[in-house]
Amino acid sequence: MSNVLDVTGLTVRLPGSSDRKNAVENITFSVGAGELVCVVGESGSGKSVTAQAVMGLLPKELKPSEGETKLLGEDTLAATPNRLRDLRGTKMAMIFQEPMTALNPVARVGEQIEEVLEIHTDLSKSQRRARAIEIMDHVHLPDPERMVDSFPHQLSGGQRQRIMIAMALVLDPALLIADEPTTALDVTTQAQILKLVKEMQERRGTGVLFITHDFGVVAEIADRIVVMQHGSIVEQGPRDQILQNPTQPYTQMLMASVPSMKPPQRTPVDGDPAITVRGLNKVYGRTGLLSRDRIVHAAKDIDLDVARGETLGIVGESGSGKSTVARCIARLIDPTSGTINLQGTEIATMRESRLRAIRSRVQIVFQDPYRSLNPRRTIGLSLIEAPMNFGVSREDALREARDLMALVGLQSDALERYPHQFSGGQRQRICIARALAVKPDILIADEAVSALDVSVQAQVLELLDDIRDKYRLAMLFITHDLRVAAQICDRLIVMQNGIVVEQGPTSDVFANPTQEYTQLLLSAAPGTDVEFGSGKAV
């Protein structure tokens, strides 16, 4: 089999001030025609840099210093800018992580597909349009005749990614590079897009270089796997060989860190209820004289209880209302109706002035640990701010802060430093410490581990479990990731379109989902047939 892509000894230098010399170092791998190669690694492993080097799309600061990237025998590193432009879109094409931002928001989607044809072919305007509609039909977009004139924001995330794929494949390139194309999508949409990529690869014989951090996705679609760490290739080989017999400790550790889809047996927690929610509703929008009726029922008749020492998970896809519920409970937004009982205190309708005193009892840890910390304040200042608001003296608050740092596994000198000096996982530990600083009864984790690499994710999950036990916290764990939910939650609530569709002990929900939607969610999770995190590795 002749190769579509041969990368040999590729080295890309980082600018002088960086913490390592090269973004990628001496990497060699190839992609055959009709073959799907997954490059898997954690953030900073150099997998995206590799893809950008092949496409000639590296940021100005990064310079390839050695090696070749041969596309059908032609080295793209040595190609002139003009030649590179000719190759892009015709011989090699790329799709990206965020289908919303990767499409031009002010141009119609058809126009954006036609643009590829306009650059590389002599087709007339009407021929280009016909071709765009045809390829949209191929990627199974509904009603392409009409959709061709839509703007990106009028489509769903999955449809946008299909447009990207249509755009990439319209001229039948030999190589398709997909850089985390399903990471920003819901799990059911992800399953559809993966299926589409696989179908296109098989039908058109395209070689696919698929970049991902998600071993579930790898298990689902890869023919061969390349594992990268710190800019080097750790291990590569056929899918089954790597998944069943990883030889390198790093690969073994990565795979062991992927949370298992099998929930461990947990003894039911029956403590006093820390929080009781009844008939909670949140409605957005209003009707007016001149405005159209745009009412969204973000949460509808939600009932839930969390006991002390218990973790209740809320799982669902984007727009299911899971975060709305969390924000209502924390009173970051005002519920439209319903009751929220916090150990005897009714807070759903409490006025802001009285609410302040109670705020310390419910704390949230958010998804993005970097943006949740003020970049211009030291960790110490961020940590003592809330306790001091509640009347704790500076000395006491600082002493507490030092203890908290130890609790979350950081040195106490971290208090003197700034957020940018920490890694993502460390920052999330800091955010957890900050939430704990006011001694809450209820901790809400809103996608708190979703932005973290799997190896770090496992550690943070462990930390959350520990502190819940230690402080007998009631924990509300919001996530879209079923694997994570399986490992940390005692009970689960499954939400869809603002409604609770199913609830019960985690192991029951996973073993015997009664609702169709839950079954769909569980079956859509990638790589369910491979058992990760079994402890076999490590």
């Binding site: 432009r85 990206f96 928001p105 755009m167």
Partner: protein
């Protein structure tokens, strides 16, 4: 879209009403008898009484306002004391020069500033970028009259290429009209070029970092098309906002420029009216400018919905 337009137009009514009340009170609240003031220094009591009756100054204030506003709405702006002519006629005859100057200035500004800003953004950090931004600082720091007299000195007095001052009606030939307007339009546009080039640079720089720019490059699109088709179109909303602001500020600049180049437009009319305490004219000109401001704002807001399909009201 239609409901948005209606809503937006309805929203201008309170603004215009506020302006009208302000202008109305301006005259009524000036110390002394407005009638005496309107009549001028050499009027006798009978004349003052006549004016008072004519203006309805004996009536309660709200009634006076009602009368005045209904006059204004019918474009009956009163008679100028100084020119002894209907103010409406006066304004109509002075619109053309001002409109010509403003329009030409805006065209120059946009044609120069947007490409400069885009190049500066694309070549960020290069000598071109630094040069353009250096010019922009200079443009900011020089007042219109300095630039105006400077240009007159070089191009009219020394080189003799262009006229020192004056205006030719467009009806008398476009060539002559343009010939006489070039210098004033350039003088007036310098500061706006500086302003809009800077804004364009910032806006385009931000857009150039977006994912869809990378997508366009991944398609094999040429750099110039990436800039024109993808970057500039997305950067347009903030740029159009400042162009709208610039037009509004421009009207202020017109007063000075028309004085420097002796162009018989609304700016010069305003100056003359103020110097001669010609109150009906001052009132009418202020009201006219306010309406223009409001209309420009409306046009800018509506243009957003055309430039960005995501903006819907």
């Amino acid at each position: 879209m239609l409901s948005y337009l209606i809503k937006r137009i309805l929203a201008t009514i309170p603004v215009m009403l506020f302006v009208a009340v302000f202008i109305f009170l301006l005259l009524r609240l000036t110390p002394g008898d407005p009638a005496a003031m309107l009549a001028g220094d050499f009027a006798n009591d009978a004349q003052i009484a006549e004016i008072r009756a004519k203006l309805g100054l004996d009536e309660p204030l709200w009634k006076q306002f009602g009368l005045w506003i209904s006059d204004m709405l019918r474009f009956e702006l009163g008679e100028s004391f100084y020119y002894k002519k209907e103010v409406s006629e006066l304004i109509l005859s002075r619109i053309e020069p001002t409109l010509s100057l403003s329009l030409l200035t805006i065209i120059f500004t946009v044609l120069i500033a947007v490409p400069l800003g885009t190049i500066a953004a694309y070549k960020q950090g290069s000598w071109m970028d630094r040069g353009i931004m250096g010019f922009s600082v200079l443009g900011f720091s020089l007042p219109v009259f300095v630039i105006g007299y400077g240009l007159i000195y070089v191009f009219s007095v020394q080189l003799g290429w262009l006229p020192v001052q004056g205006y030719a009606r467009i009806a008398d030939g476009v060539g002559e009209w343009l010939y006489r307007l070039i210098l004033p339009a350039i003088a007036l546009s310098v500061i706006f070029v500086a302003f809009i080039a800077r804004m364009t640079r910032t806006s385009v720089l931000e857009v150039l970092g977006e994912d869809y720019i990378r997508t366009a490059r991944a398609k094999g699109q040429t750099e110039s098309r990436v800039l024109m088709r993808h970057a500039l179109r997305n950067a347009a909303v903030p740029i159009v906002t400042v162009i709208g602001l610039a037009i509004a500020i421009l009207i202020g600049g017109v007063v000075v420029t028309e004085s420097v180049f002796t162009i018989p437009g609304l700016g010069l009319l305003t100056v003359e009216a103020v110097l001669n305490r010609d109150f009906p004219t001052i009132q009418a000109v202020i009201l006219f400018f306010s309406v223009v401001y409001v209309l420009i704002n409306l046009a800018v807001d509506v243009s957003y919905t055309l430039l960005d399909p995501r903006i819907r009201y």
